[in-house]
Amino acid sequence: MGAPLATPEAGPRDKLRLAFTVNGEAREVLVEPWKTLLEVLREDLGLTGTKHGCELGECGACAVLADGELVLSCLVPAVECQGRAVTTVEGLRDGPELHPLQAAFADHGAAQCGYCTPGMLVAARWLLDREPDASRERIVEALSGQLCRCTGYLQIYEAVEAAGRVLRGLPAPGARLPRVHRASEHGRSE
């Protein structure tokens, strides 16, 4: 953690100067000392890709990377990010092409409503940065702090596995499809 800039003279409403790196770019903002990293990203920097679902560290929607470590931005005071490098969902890709994780999430049904998706992607990125060949068990464990109410998680696991393969230089697998049982295979139904 960088040293907080609060000085004895600063009152609770006095803004502090925060200089840090966001998605590879140097940023400087004046922030109230009580503001969380989540609020500064969304409100002061306009990076609304990072979501909030609880603001109590319970849902994982606000996950970002700080110096490569996975943190819940709703629990991190912004001033503690002095000098640190923060990566949000907006920083996953460099240029128009999607990051392999983003492409896999879009193609494997891993994003339905898309609200948990930024946090899921960042958490998955954290995992694959360390273990590009992470097992299913490791994926389940690494994403256990990220709630999703839409998917039932299975297509998310498959997307992470697919992205891991791409990052390891293997061909991108197609989305897993449900088996189809033809109604004509039995007599009673139409």
Binding site: E58, F105, A106, C113, G114, Y115, L147, R176, V180, H181
Partner: protein, 844 residues
């Protein structure tokens, strides 16, 4: 869901339902271009880059923030609201109170019982009393605390049993007496006689606990006057059209000068299907201040909004013949409605309406009662009112099969309704994939070989179910389409689709793109979408009742078919072939007899435009009229029903009572999958949510001790304490789609968003019985309940009594095979009773 007081919209004078897909549309059996392909969803890129704009991601220059002052007491008269201290806070721009909202509203015409801010009474902890608008969100929050409210406390009603026993004080001054909101009684044939003649009669009591949607996105609204001074409400809603109507009425704004935009939603599940006070209050604040006003609810406030699953106590009675056939079936339901009507009348009817559409049932009796209580209002959550009786029925049948010595899968297959059936309560079912679903999960799970043979603590359970593909009637009575789609074809060969449908994550945008692309032979990426905006698209009634794929889909196919007809005529001339030889595909319009002879799609648009002017078409859809003609028969009819069956394998620790789900096999009657990746996601998401309800989710309330006001408060209004399944709780799921096109669906498609949830809770309960031999007749099946059942002499844990309810005189509707025309024999014929009601005929 429909206005339940209307039996049928399509009586005399109503136009016929929409025509089927145009003749030039591809026919079943031909190869599809976009339909059925595992393509990336239409909004996929935006969702993974963080560019999707949810309501709380919006901001405008000069934006003010709003905070609501919510009631701290569960039931009280408001004596005084003093806003002076709040108004004195620097930065506060306005304080609104109930006085600013004299006009009542409600999603159903029969339940207009809400004020955007409470006027004379508060009815639950969290009911909003005042709103503070300030330049800064923190200032608004601090000032809201300074709004002083004096209350005169009233007795608090905490449960349906208390509501029945405590007619005074009344929570509302309307309803079916005391604190009963709605009591209904329907008899389809003489059920007592059927039970008397039955070989065996079975009776069971069940309880289904309430749960909430817990969408990750908290509700947010941004209201503003646009540059021309017209009011716009951009919000997290599944029903922009209904909000448009209600907000215009409450605010006194001409509807023509009001625009509602449903932003993409971070999950709905029914939780954004009602009208929310904060949406209307923010709009009023924008009108008053002339500035954009934003409100973003906290998670705790979202728990107060609720409108989720009704807790339901049920009593089921079934008489079976020697062959196991159901001769008579009776369901009584008691619903804990919470503090307002909302969709509750429809919810009440839904606890009985779909009981008949899975298995043959000669006679049927339904009694339903919804009570008011001093808790956040309940409403529609995925499956709206049907998962509760479905849980009861499927566990009840498991017990019956056990007593009869029948295999539960075999019994269901033998008693499954035949396609084309008209049920005892006059629901018309068309295609039925139920048997296919049962056969598929029985085979996949090796049910016959493995059931009862998995050793101690392991078991298999099975259940099946049915759901609507869209409510057959609109919420307010009218003769207009339920969905409309408009197309604009551009000279570059692109197509823009305009439709009011709201994308809540279920994939409605993708359905639009795929269907339009299919009919016009395009890549879905060439289709641009403008959806969920009342100013920019034709009305779609909303994302509820699993109606969008079928209804919007049919409208889209019709609109695209009309565009195709125009292009085909222009292309036929250019290619010098007869019209019937014109084909569409791969972005080309070609001679089907010689596909190399072709013009580009863009050229076809240009030629059509040169010939007949701008190429824009519309399509719309209205469901077929339902056969049910009795009062209440407006809830349950649908153009099609989807079917599902599931087998669940569990492991139960007899020492701790912990239930672990090992695997789920689920088969869903999809008609035709428009996109198998998205369909699978809806099935598995439903399995997930069903498992949450089966094992852990509870919207439960507790009374505070006397020193803390005895208020009735939510037990755990946080995401941590409201238990929902995390990654580590999710089992393996094998999803099977039962394919068999439904003639009423676009390219044969049925719904998938809600139906697959239904069999999961009863299949879990049946599996627990198979594993450890005890019955837990209520959800969630917590470890405590499993242990209680293991210790009980009855080997059962569940409700012990159903209270006495003063049911109204039942409407007597003979089942189709006992004569009649779907009307009640003891009800004045509705056409004689009164003429067609005006749309807003409302009580109270």
């Amino acid at each position: 869901m429909a206005d339940p007081s209307e039996s049928s919209a399509a009586r005399a004078g109503a136009p016929p339902p929409s025509r089927p897909a145009p003749a030039s549309a591809p026919q079943a059996g031909t190869a599809f271009g976009a339909v059925g392909k595992p393509l990336r969803r239409a909004d996929g890129r935006a969702k993974v880059t963080g560019e999707t704009r949810f309501a709380d991601d919006l901001s405008l220059p000069g934006m003010l923030f709003m905070k609501l002052k919510r009631s701290s007491v569960p039931h009280a008269r408001i004596l005084e609201v003093d806003a002076a201290a709040a108004l004195a806070v620097p930065g506060v721009r306005a304080v609104l109170t109930g006085r600013d909202f004299p006009v009542r509203y409600g999603i159903l015409p029969v339940s207009q019982d809400e004020h955007a801010l409470c006027v004379d009474k508060v009815r639950f902890v969290g009911d909003p009393v005042a709103a503070v608008v300030a330049a800064d969100e923190l200032v608004a929050e601090e000032a809201a605390r300074l709004v002083a409210v004096r209350y005169q406390p009233l007795a608090t009603i905490a449960s349906p049993e208390e509501a029945l026993a405590t007619p005074e004080p009344r929570i509302h001054e309307y309803g079916d007496g005391g604190n009963v909101h709605k009591a209904v009684a329907l008899d389809f044939g003489d059920v007592p006689a059927a039970l008397a003649s039955a070989d065996q009669v079975f009776e069971d009591l069940f309880f289904y606990q309430g749960s909430t949607h817990l969408a990750l996105e908290q509700h947010a609204t941004l209201a503003y006057l646009d540059a021309d001074g017209r009011l716009t409400i951009a919000t997290s809603t599944q029903v922009p059209h209904y909000l448009h109507r209600a907000a215009a009425k409450v605010l006194g704004v001409p509807p023509a000068r009001l625009r509602v935009i449903a932003q993409p939603q971070g999950g709905g599940f029914g939780g954004k299907t009602d009208l929310f006070n904060h949406e209307i209050v923010a709009a009023k604040a924008a009108l008053v201040t002339g500035r954009p006003v934003k409100v973003s609810l906290t998670r705790e406030e979202v728990f107060a909004c609720h409108r989720g699953r009704h807790p339901v106590l049920m009593r089921l009675r079934t008489g079976v013949g020697r062959d196991g056939r159901i001769l008579g079936h009776s369901v009584e339901t008691l619903l804990d409605g919470g503090a307002y009507g909302g969709y509750g009348v429809a919810s009440t009817f839904y606890t009985g309406a779909l009981e008949t559409v899975t298995y043959r049932m000669d006679r049927y009796r339904f009694r339903g009662c919804r009570t008011f209580t001093n808790k956040p209002p309940c409403g529609p959550k995925r499956g709206h009112g049907t998962p509760q009786p479905r849980f009861g029925l499927e566990v009840h049948l498991d017990k019956i099969c056990q007593k009869l010595g029948r295999d539960p899968a075999e019994w269901r297959i033998q008693n499954a309704l035949a396609a084309g059936s008209l049920t005892a309560n006059w629901m018309k079912v068309r295609t039925i994939g139920l048997v296919g679903c049962l056969e598929a999960v029985v085979a996949a799970s090796r049910w016959k070989e493995r059931r009862g043979k998995l050793g101690p603590g392991r078991g298999l359970g099975l259940a099946s179910s049915a759901y609507l593909c869209g409510a057959g009637l609109p919420i307010y009575f009218n003769d207009m389409p339920h969905s409309g789609v408009q197309l604009l074809l551009d000279r570059g060969g692109g197509v823009t689709v305009f439709c009011g449908a709201a994308e809540v994550g279920q994939g409605s945008d993708t359905v639009l793109a795929v269907l339009v692309a299919e009919v016009l032979g395009l890549d879905p990426d060439d289709v641009k979408l403008v959806t969920g905006d009342t100013a920019l698209g034709p009305v779609d009634l909303g994302s509820y009742s699993s109606r969008v794929t079928l209804m919007m889909g049919n409208a889209a196919v019709e609109a695209a078919g009309r565009a195709r007809d125009r292009l085909a005529a222009a292309a036929a001339q250019a290619l010098e072939v007869p019209l019937e030889r014109v084909g569409f595909g791969g972005g080309r319009v070609f001679d089907v007899g010689d596909p190399d002879r072709a013009i580009t799609f863009a050229e076809a648009v240009q030629r059509a435009e040169a010939e007949g002017g701008t190429v824009g078409t519309v399509g719309s859809y209205r469901p077929p009229p339902p056969p049910s003609r009795y009062k209440g028969g407006g809830v349950g009819p649908s153009p099609a029903y989807s079917y599902t069956a599931a087998v669940v394998e569990v492991e139960v620790d007899a020492a701790t009572g912990v239930v672990r789900v090992v695997k789920v096999w689920i088969a869903h009657d999809i008609g035709r999958a428009l996109n198998p990746v998205l369909v699978r996601g809806q099935v598995e998401g439903s399995v997930y949510m069903g498992l949450g309800e089966a094992l852990m989710e509870e919207q439960e309330f507790v009374r505070l001790p006397p020193r803390l006001s005895r208020a009735l408060v939510h037990q755990a209004p946080s995401m941590l304490e409201y238990k929902s399944p995390a990654t580590v709780d999710m089992p393996e799921v094998e999803t099977i789609l039962v394919d068999g096109p439904e003639p009423n669906g676009p390219f044969g498609a049925k719904e998938v968003g809600q139906g697959p949830l239904l069999p999961i809770p009863p299949a879990v309960a049946n599996a627990v019985h198979d594993a450890v031999g005890v019955r837990v007749d209520e959800v969630p099946i917590t470890p405590e309940k499993v242990l209680a059942a293991l210790k009980a002499g009855s080997r059962r844990h569940g409700p012990e009594a159903f209270p006495s309810i003063a049911w109204p005189e039942p409407l007597m509707v003979p089942p189709p095979w006992e004569g009649g025309d779907g009307s009640a024999v003891n009800e004045p014929r509705r056409s004689e009773q009164r003429g067609r009601r005006p749309p807003e005929a409302a009580k109270p």
